[in-house]
């Protein structure tokens, strides 16, 4: 087993896993696209390790350091986008709660309670 093969297997697994959760309607296609993009990146880097090596040489980093840098960068981006989605969701949820409370008050008034 070498690193390239490992990456190819991982990329394939990410693809299958993502598709499975979308087909179960537990994962929105919008977010699945991000993960499928990641799977493609892993697959491409696995198939063409020269890209990663070239990148490492260009940035004057050792191979493991370059891999770590890219991995950390991706993890940062993904986590950050989740935080943003969560904040938006919070905002919507808050507005819905408020609307519901106001509606209930209005209903009570209409019913003369």
């Amino acid at each position: 087993m070498n690193a390239e093969l490992l990456m190819a297997i991982c990329g394939g697994l990410v693809f299958v896993f993502t598709t499975y959760w979308v087909s179960r309607r537990q994962l929105r296609v919008k977010y699945a696209l991000i993960w499928m993009f990641l799977a493609c990146v892993i697959l491409i880097l696995g198939a063409f390790p020269k890209i990663l090596m070239g990148l490492a040489a260009w940035a004057r980093l050792s191979f493991p350091a370059a891999v770590l840098f890219i991995a950390l960068g991706l993890i940062y981006l993904f986590c950050f986008s989740v935080s943003i989605s969560l904040s938006r969701l919070h905002q919507r949820n808050l507005r819905l709660t408020q609307e519901l409370a106001l509606l209930e008050e209005r209903l009570a008034e209409v019913e003369g309670r």
């Binding site: 598709t19 087909s23 699945a32 499928m36 919507r92 819905l96 609307e99």
Partner: protein
């Protein structure tokens, strides 16, 4: 007060509207001119402009117009699904989706409803590409290419031929109302729901219609969004193909 069955035997026209204050009144007026009386439900999708005000005014002026406002913007699919849920709960046998931006022509409402009313079809799509004898607006060349692509993809993956899978001018029968009330994509829903219907035993058909260029508002599909739209809908359709069938069965 409305009862649970006040819509039986009647048509509900669902008008999803997001920031369409300029075109909404005209679209609804054209619907009200339509001879066999249809009820109109404007679904205001959390608009930030005066759409809500215009819609409420229309409801005050015309007894056949109702308004539902989503407190937060939820996407065209969610708006349409809200309308379908309303149709289901009020016992309507037929619901039509009609855009607020003036693209759709109320003159074709009867033709669109006919196959569904006859009980032959569950989802009837108004297609711009069936009757090519008249020279008229049929979207931009690039968009037509996109529509062609989805048309081909759907035929390839389920064998059903649909010429205008992105059309938002559609009539839903009882079965479609019930099934889509449960699951419906919330953004860019048209091609995906056509595919889902065709695969899950709903009878899908098309009738030729004329469409206009939009009278107001901006298309929800433009520039950078186009790439996302194409990829998202393609992935959604391909994944749906991998799903086991989910229809009600006979």
């Amino acid at each position: 007060m409305k009862t649970a069955n006040d819509g039986a035997g009647r048509i509900l026209v669902i008008v999803p509207a997001y920031n369409e204050e300029g075109a909404l009144a005209g679209s609804v007026a054209s619907l009200l001119e339509y001879a066999p009386p249809a009820d109109v439900l404007v679904v205001n999708d959390g608009s930030s402009d005066g759409t809500g005000r215009v819609a409420r005014q229309l409801a005050v002026e015309h007894g056949r117009v109702r308004v539902v406002t989503l407190p937060v913007n939820s996407g065209i699919g969610a708006a349409v699904q809200t309308g379908l849920m309303y149709a289901g709960r009020h016992g309507y046998d037929l619901a039509v989706q009609f855009d607020a931006d003036g693209q759709h022509d109320a003159d074709y409402l009867a033709a669109l409803c006919k196959p569904v009313e006859a009980g032959e079809v569950d989802l009837c799509i108004g297609s711009r590409f069936l009757d090519l004898s008249r020279a008229e607006f049929r979207s931009t060349p690039l968009r037509r290419l996109g529509i062609r692509f989805f048309s081909l993809l759907i035929t390839l993956l389920c064998g059903v031929r649909v010429t205008d899978p992105t059309s938002g001018f559609r009539a839903y029968g009882r079965k479609a109302i019930e099934l889509f009330s449960r699951t419906y994509p919330d953004d860019y829903p048209e091609p995906e729901s056509v595919f889902w219907s065709a695969r899950n035993g709903l009878r899908v058909a098309e009738v030729p219609v004329r469409m206009f260029e939009r009278a107001g508002g901006v298309s929800s599909i433009r520039y950078l969004n186009t790439a996302y739209y194409m990829i998202k809908v393609t992935v959604a359709i391909v994944v749906d193909r991998l799903r086991s069938k989910e229809g009600l069965g006979e």
